[in-house]
């Protein structure tokens, strides 16, 4: 039970959970599922990025009769308009990736800013920001997104804004808790006693010490962004040009022919599934490494 004492073994644990951000990444990679997740993610991203350059047919050209699984000269047949499913699949990843990436960066960025502001104010600012996120949290993300999309024209910028707006309060919650925890540490008081102002302390003491939860949260939000962006496409509400190839949209367009030509739906579904699983495995691996134990985060 010397494990329970602040003795040498305790120090070893301390050493694992502290440390530098690069150290955390290295430790995360030691977790098997992080490596698996990273490989899956890289694979899907490679398909999406390289795909348009190797696609056998064009994005919009007609190559056969609609819904023909075994149309001549195609790998996976044709879609509801008679376009090449394989080529549209290869073209259709970039939009999902770009939009989800943007949603994640903006959502996490805004959430982090709010968390840094609120978690280290101990005044009405904290109260106000947190009560505001309470209200935003009273909507499921998808319903909030749909409300926005009904009001503003569905277009990629709106999709990014609504999905990011859904993330921000949730990120703010999690990161505020992390910031609050760090703000209670004595090294923050030591900085205060030197007379340092709030922003230098936020950037110099708080931010560097919440990078662990921040990386986990970013991974999680990326997973949810992919799901939401693709989900809105699946509802036909992603606001892309009608003939543009997009994994979410492909499912929507071709779902009525699912029985006769399943590939047009299955290919994008598999890609989206792999991408979400991959990013979430990475997030979970980082979380495990950050916790220094096999205790998991709820999400």
């Amino acid at each position: 039970m010397s494990v329970a004492e602040p003795g040498p073994i305790g120090n070893a644990i301390e050493r694992v959970s502290g440390g530098q951000a690069p150290g955390l990444l290295r430790r995360s990679l030691a977790v098997g599922r992080t490596r698996a997740g990273l490989m899956i993610t890289v694979l899907v991203v490679a398909v999406a990025v390289v795909g348009p350059f190797v696609a056998p047919a064009s994005e919009t050209g007609f190559v056969g009769a609609p819904y023909t699984p075994d149309a001549a000269g195609t790998v996976f047949g044709t879609d509801y308009l008679g376009r090449d499913v394989w080529s549209r699949f290869l073209y259709g990843g970039v939009s999902v990736l770009a939009l989800s990436g943007l949603c994640t960066v903006i959502g996490v960025g805004v959430g982090l800013l709010v968390a840094l502001l609120a978690g280290y104010s101990r005044t009405w600012v904290d109260e106000l920001l947190m009560r505001t996120t309470d209200v935003l949290l009273a909507f499921p993300a998808i319903v909030l997104a749909l409300l926005f999309l009904a009001v503003f024209e569905p277009q990629p910028a709106t999709v990014v804004a609504t999905v990011a707006a859904g993330h921000a309060p949730r990120v703010a919650r999690v990161m505020r808790a992390a910031v609050l925890d760090v703000a209670g540490r004595d090294y923050v008081r030591a900085a205060e006693s030197m007379g340092l102002r709030r922003w230098p302390i936020r950037l110099g003491d708080l931010l560097p010490n919440v990078t662990g939860p921040l990386m986990v949260e970013t991974g999680l939000r990326l997973t949810y962004s992919v799901a939401l962006v693709a989900g809105l496409g699946f509802l036909g509400l992603s606001g892309l040009e009608a003939d543009q190839a997009d994994w979410g949209l492909m499912i929507n367009e071709n779902r009525l022919g699912f029985t006769v030509q399943p590939w047009a739906v299955l290919l994008p579904v598999i890609a989206i599934g792999l991408l979400t699983v991959g990013t979430n495995l990475v997030a979970d691996g980082i979380a495990r490494a950050a916790a220094g134990t096999d205790r998991e985060v709820g999400g």
């Binding site: 039970m1 010397s2 494990v3 329970a4 004492e5 602040p6 003795g7 040498p8 073994i9 305790g10 120090n11 070893a12 301390e14 050493r15 502290g18 440390g19 530098q20 540490r185 004595d186 090294y187 008081r189 030591a190 900085a191 205060e192 006693s193 030197m194 007379g195 340092l196 102002r197 003491d205 560097p208 010490n209």
Partner: protein, 592 residues
């Protein structure tokens, strides 16, 4: 209890060994004997394996550890050989355990009466439900708790810390066990409650005729309750003897140095630490584990682990030079009796609160230049709030602070640079006072950068200089806090506090997270700076024995007010306030 029965009820441990699943020995070579009706104190610093020994006596270990050898003989049975099912019958019935922290060891969702009752039910105590109900009342009565339904139907959180611990003790003694293991049961309690708990344990041990093992890091507490004391160092018992004999005539160098490091209420003396640190289980040296830190070391010490052998009547020691061990030479401390310099810090009518809760009530205090003033108080007395207010970290306050003759504003950033540089603060917990993402050098240099504008090579030079002065090498500047031990971290904190050349140093319970041998080193270091630099110290602590050994003047804080403010001499010889008298009476002394 007859003599024979007492002997039969005793505990004998031989060659107990516990290892991690990787095979690293955590406890190896523990021999103990505890006759029935007596208390054996087991003293060890952090990492010594004392808690592991405690649970191993119940045939258990934490996850990742296992008992790999030795025997634990109780009532003619070797507990180590029992199956898990058989052990379950023994645990809670013949062998019981009183945990360190009652606030987490009691089930928060179960009424306290039921927690005692559960143990009786599990072991089919007595002749039936009526018998058990009566025993529950008895058990509560034995530990001095009310026995009415209104009390036994309470949940743990509705009890005070002392009451919770007494519930744990009631559970432990409920089944008339043969052995009770108590693992630091008074750590979280104030001294008055601690005295009550110690009394209860001693009385019940006698009354039940059972053997008790009292585990603690605190030699003074252990010597107050134990008939005999065993000293644990790096996983093995290095010495066991009757309490008085062990303290007065230690026969192992570690014990001798440990006694010298413990602040004692009985005398004003210079504390002496032990150089270096205890080895971790994986880095224990071959031969005597203490050899690298021992002044008496000879080549033979490093080749073979000495046996625990009889060195005097009833006195065992694990040292080949035990005959040469002398009681540590303890110098009387140089006294500064007359304090008549003008106050550096003067507090007048200070009232502070957290939200609507007042914490300090119109408190006044003068801190004379060049002295060490101790601020003594229990947790909740407001001592940390006072310290923080002085450091400019708590601004919800009224009243006046004067520093060097000038009015001192409450907020740190309302104070000018010179003032901020002149008042330094060292925090209680060295594990949270250093930013884990900054190097040691960066942390130490920060006050110089922020407050004095020092940069570049000059900064580096002064940081290196400062590190040397706290007995760390300049190379430590490149390390991160997680590569340091607790004692090293606290020395880095001292370096950070002193680098801006302050005149007032506020020390907030700076040793409470440290082992006594490390505490003595740190206290010595601070005292050296006080003398060399003419520093003024405000030393916040809950430990009255430590106060006697560090301060020239003492202010006793109780519930946000100073109830007594006197020179150390005066306070210890002629205390005036009842609270001070109570503290002096109930605090355990090393030598009674």
């Amino acid at each position: 209890m007859s003599e024979a029965r007492s002997e039969q009820r005793g505990l004998r441990v031989r060659g107990l060994r516990v290892s991690t699943s990787a095979g690293v020995p955590v406890v190896d070579g523990v021999d103990l004997s505890v006759p029935g009706g007596t208390v054996l104190g087991l003293v060890g610093e952090s990492g010594s394996g004392k808690t592991t020994v405690g649970t191993a006596l119940l045939g258990g270990t934490r996850r990742g550890l296992e008992i790999v050898g030795g025997s634990v003989l109780l009532e003619g049975t070797d507990l180590v050989t029992l199956s898990e099912t058989e052990l379950r019958g023994w645990r809670g019935s013949r062998v019981t355990y009183v945990p360190q922290d009652p606030t987490t060891a009691l089930d928060p969702a179960m009424r306290v009466g039921n927690q005692v009752r559960e143990v009786l039910d599990c072991h089919d105590y007595g002749s039936g439900p009526h018998d058990r109900a009566r025993r529950v009342s008895e058990a509560f009565e034995e530990v001095g708790l009310p026995t009415d339904d209104a009390f036994t139907r309470r949940y743990p959180h509705q009890l005070s810390g002392g009451q919770q611990q007494r519930v744990c003790i009631a559970v432990a003694f409920a089944t008339w066990p043969a052995l009770v293991v108590l693992d630091e049961p008074t750590t979280g309690l104030d001294v008055t409650t601690q005295a009550l708990v110690l009394d209860t344990v001693r009385r019940l041990t006698r009354q039940h005729g059972c053997a008790a093992l009292y585990i603690s890091h605190d030699l003074a507490v252990v010597s107050a309750i134990s008939d005999e004391v065993a000293v644990l160092y790096a996983g093995s018992v290095v010495e066991q003897a009757a309490t008085d004999e062990l303290v007065r005539r230690p026969r192992h160098p570690y014990t001798s140095r440990l006694v010298a490091a413990v602040p004692d209420l009985s005398g004003d003396r210079e504390l002496k630490g032990i150089p270096g640190g205890a080895p971790s289980p994986s880095t224990r040296p071959s031969g005597c584990r203490f050899a690298p830190r021992c002044e008496l070391v000879v080549p033979e010490c490093t080749t073979e682990l000495p046996e625990l052998r009889l060195v005097a009547d009833g006195h065992h020691a694990r040292c080949i030079r035990s005959a040469d061990v002398t009681p540590a030479h303890v110098r009387e401390r140089r006294r500064i009796d007359e304090i008549d310099s003008a106050p550096l810090l003067s507090i007048h009518g200070l009232t502070a609160r957290y939200g609507r809760t007042p914490v300090l009530h119109g408190l006044s205090l003068d801190v004379p230049r060049g002295t060490c003033v101790a601020l003594l108080g229990e947790s909740g007395s407001g001592k940390t709030t006072l310290a923080r207010t002085i450091a400019g970290l708590h601004t919800d306050a009224e009243g006046e602070l004067h520093f060097g003759g000038n009015r001192l504003p409450f907020g740190a950033h309302q104070r000018d640079r010179e003032t901020r540089a002149s008042i330094a603060y060292i925090f209680q917990n060295p594990y949270s006072s250093l930013n884990p993402r900054r190097t040691v050098g960066d942390s130490i240099g920060r006050p110089l950068r922020v407050l004095r504008g020092v940069r570049g090579a000059e900064l580096e030079r002064r940081v290196g200089d400062m590190l040397e002065r706290v007995y760390l090498s300049a190379a430590y500047a490149q390390r991160y806090p997680d590569q340091l031990s607790g004692g090293e971290r606290q020395r880095v904190a001292v370096a950070r506090a002193l680098i801006s050349e302050p005149t007032l140093l506020v020390c907030d319970e700076i040793t409470s997270a440290l082992d006594v041998s490390v505490q003595a080193n740190l206290v010595g270091l601070i005292e050296k700076f006080r003398q060399d630099l003419g520093l003024t110290l405000l030393f916040v602590t809950h430990d009255i024995a430590l106060v006697r050994n560090v301060a020239q003047q003492v202010a006793v804080l109780q519930e946000g007010a100073i109830v007594e403010d006197a020179s150390t001499e005066q306070l210890f010889h002629h205390p005036s306030h009842d609270y001070t008298k109570e503290l002096l009476k109930t605090t355990p002394r090393l030598v009674s």
